[in-house]
């Protein structure tokens, strides 16, 4: 999970709103030199971003309107590729899986992350525990896919431990019908530590006097959580929701490794849209469908956009100043 590459636009929004501090009027020379240097400073990043990021996105949108095997000439299809996707049961299934990871995985991850955050705050040696639980999100998910092949085998460590604890018929972890669930579980496990660390950082910034005041007013633990903790880190929660949306849509290596261990593609029942894009564009033993692949990729982009807009609407609250 490359959690490090997702962000939200709250800062950008806020800064555009003009609420940011303007330089003092007296600093005119500073202002002038800044204006001059603005373009020189931003040009390299803007250029890199434009050529290596925005142009490819545009090219993807353009390619998605054609039928193209990459070799022959492009054939205009208009929006037909999107129609084809809709008719393809495999894509519909991939889309469902993506949504399942996004919604079910998201709700569970946040529930766990919140609980974990609350528990961690009360614990001794909480920094150590937080670090350990945080670590999995820094590991390439392929590692877990590979390790699971032994860990969860019928004679593997997990079943051995469960047996010792008296559970003689543990689930068939690695059976293909459980693949999606296992992938979801692994994902939640790696993400919980990360999101609880974010929440913890936010909660740590809540001034202690607010809790003390609430306590003096006779608020119990739940009321303190409901009326102090939750509102105070609402902003961060909404950022996390957006963060999760993007990162969950682009999961790839986890599925690739969990499902396919002997060289073949993972069974189609476990695909998400990222996997679908990959197999359409880089198939084994068939013609690449670049138009269809980019159309599928754009569908996942639309999904992120819709979710982001809706989530930000839903989670919008007046910022609390303190």
């Amino acid at each position: 999970m490359s959690t490090a590459t997702i962000q939200d636009s709250s800062r950008a929004r806020r800064s555009r709103g003009g609420s940011a501090p303007r330089p003092p009027v007296g600093a005119a020379p500073l202002e002038r030199s800044r204006r001059r240097m603005f373009w020189a400073f931003t040009a390299p990043a803007v250029l890199v971003y434009f050529v290596l990021f925005l142009v490819p996105v545009g090219y993807a949108a353009w390619t998605s309107l054609y039928k193209w095997d990459g070799i022959g000439p492009k054939k205009w299809k208009g929006l037909k590729n999107y129609q084809t996707l809709w008719q393809d049961p495999t894509f519909r299934h991939s889309l469902t899986n993506t949504l399942k990871i996004l919604v079910v995985g998201g709700v569970l991850t946040f529930a766990f992350a919140f609980a974990l955050m609350l528990i961690l705050r009360e614990m001794n040696r909480k920094l150590f525990a937080r670090s350990v639980l945080f670590f999995p999100c820094l590991v390439n998910a392929m590692v877990f896919g590979i390790a699971a092949g032994i860990l969860f085998s019928p004679t593997g460590p997990v079943d051995k431990i469960l047996e010792a604890l008296g559970w003689s018929h543990p689930p068939q972890w690695l059976a293909t019908q459980h693949l999606s669930t296992m992938i979801l579980g692994t994902l939640i496990w790696t993400a919980t530590g990360y999101y609880s660390a974010i929440l913890m950082a936010a909660v740590d910034q809540i001034p202690e006097y607010l809790y003390e005041a609430a306590e003096l007013d006779g608020a119990n633990a739940f009321q303190r959580f409901r009326h102090v903790t939750l509102p105070m880190c609402w902003d961060v929660i909404s950022v996390c929701a957006v963060l999760w949306t993007v990162s969950s849509v682009k999961i790839f290596e986890l599925i690739l490794m969990y499902g396919g261990s002997s060289g073949s593609q993972p069974p189609a029942g476990s695909w998400n849209t990222a996997m679908y894009v990959y197999t359409e564009a880089f198939p084994t033993a068939s013609t690449p469908q670049l138009g269809l692949a980019t159309a599928a990729a754009l569908v996942s982009l639309f999904m992120v956009i819709i979710f982001t807009v809706v989530l930000r609407r839903l989670l919008r609250r007046d910022p609390i100043e303190y």
């Binding site: 800064s15 020379p29 660390a197 950022v239 564009a281």
Partner: protein, 281 residues
């Protein structure tokens, strides 16, 4: 941080116990992966929970020489370090300019960068493959570095803008009054102060480049060009006609995993801080 005076309730004690069990399980898992990498494939399949009585270091020599993990590890280091250094070098001046100059242009620019954060990688995979091939940079480290550089822009600019915004303006005002130009102010006054932020940005970019798999699989294929995730996935794919050696497989896993463990033990708090506080700002 928040010393609680009250005695802990029973549910809280149970919950704390559960968390410690999970923490312990995580540590055991990593330890188990490390130990398993020293055992033979057949042994692992027959006795998955065993301890290597005769550590099989040949697993490592096998992945390093035969599996090409040695070259792949070098490539991973090269690609991750260079792309991260470049990303920070390119993004820092831009982030600084965006943090200091607040008007419609910079606002729109920040917004455009931020929007990039919402684009899942699979959107760009086909175009970047075709584009890199057009300019002869497919299956090459410079090509991969460029791709990672582009992918890093939104996040790095966003993160660094936050850091630069947090630096008091008085510093520059003093420098300008002393007659320093904008470049000089930036390099001599701002960068030293923002060093922590730059290192954090580098670290986070390094981690995501180290683990990146989709673009690496698509863009590189020759054995002397691939990075570690590709080598690992190839190692699994090879199995179909020549058998899979789980021992060597786990050794390969450890080559991917170990640097992250080392980095995290060394700079863990900084990484956590960058990935949490930096996000929530």
């Amino acid at each position: 941080m928040t010393p609680r005076r009250k005695a802990r309730s029973l549910p809280m004690r149970i919950a704390t116990g559960v968390v410690w069990v999970v923490v312990a399980a995580d540590i055991v898992l990593v330890g188990w992966i490390l130990l398993t990498s020293l055992r033979s494939g057949t042994d692992i399949l027959n006795h998955p929970f065993g301890v290597p009585t005769h550590p099989k270091f040949s697993n490592y020599s096998k992945v390093f020489s035969d599996g090409g993990f040695g070259q792949a590890a070098l490539n991973s280091v090269l690609v991750a370090v260079l792309s991260s250094v470049l990303a920070v070098a390119v993004a820092a001046p831009c982030a600084y300019a965006l943090a200091r100059r607040r008007n419609r242009v910079s606002g729109a620019m920040s917004m455009t960068f931020a929007m990039g954060l919402g684009v899942p990688g699979q959107v760009m995979v086909v175009p970047l493959f075709i584009g890199m091939a057009k300019v002869n940079l497919d299956d090459s480290q410079p090509g991969l570095i460029l791709v990672y550089l582009g992918l890093a822009m939104p996040f790095t600019v966003y993160l660094l803008t936050g850091f630069f915004s947090g630096i008091p303006q008085v510093l520059e005002e003093a420098a300008v009054l002393d007659g320093a130009g904008a470049v000089r102010t930036f390099t001599r006054v701002i960068l030293p102060v923002a060093r922590g932020g730059l290192v954090t940005a580098f670290l986070l970019q390094f981690i995501s480049a180290w683990n990146e798999t989709l673009f690496a699989i698509v863009l590189t294929h020759s054995q002397d060009k691939v990075t570690l995730p590709v080598a690992l996935s190839d190692f699994v794919q090879e199995a179909q006609l020549n058998g899979l050696d789980w021992g060597a497989m786990f050794a390969g896993v450890c080559v991917v995993l170990a640097p992250m463990i080392a980095l995290f033990s060394w700079l863990g708090s900084r990484i956590i801080q960058g990935m949490t506080v930096g996000i929530g700002k």
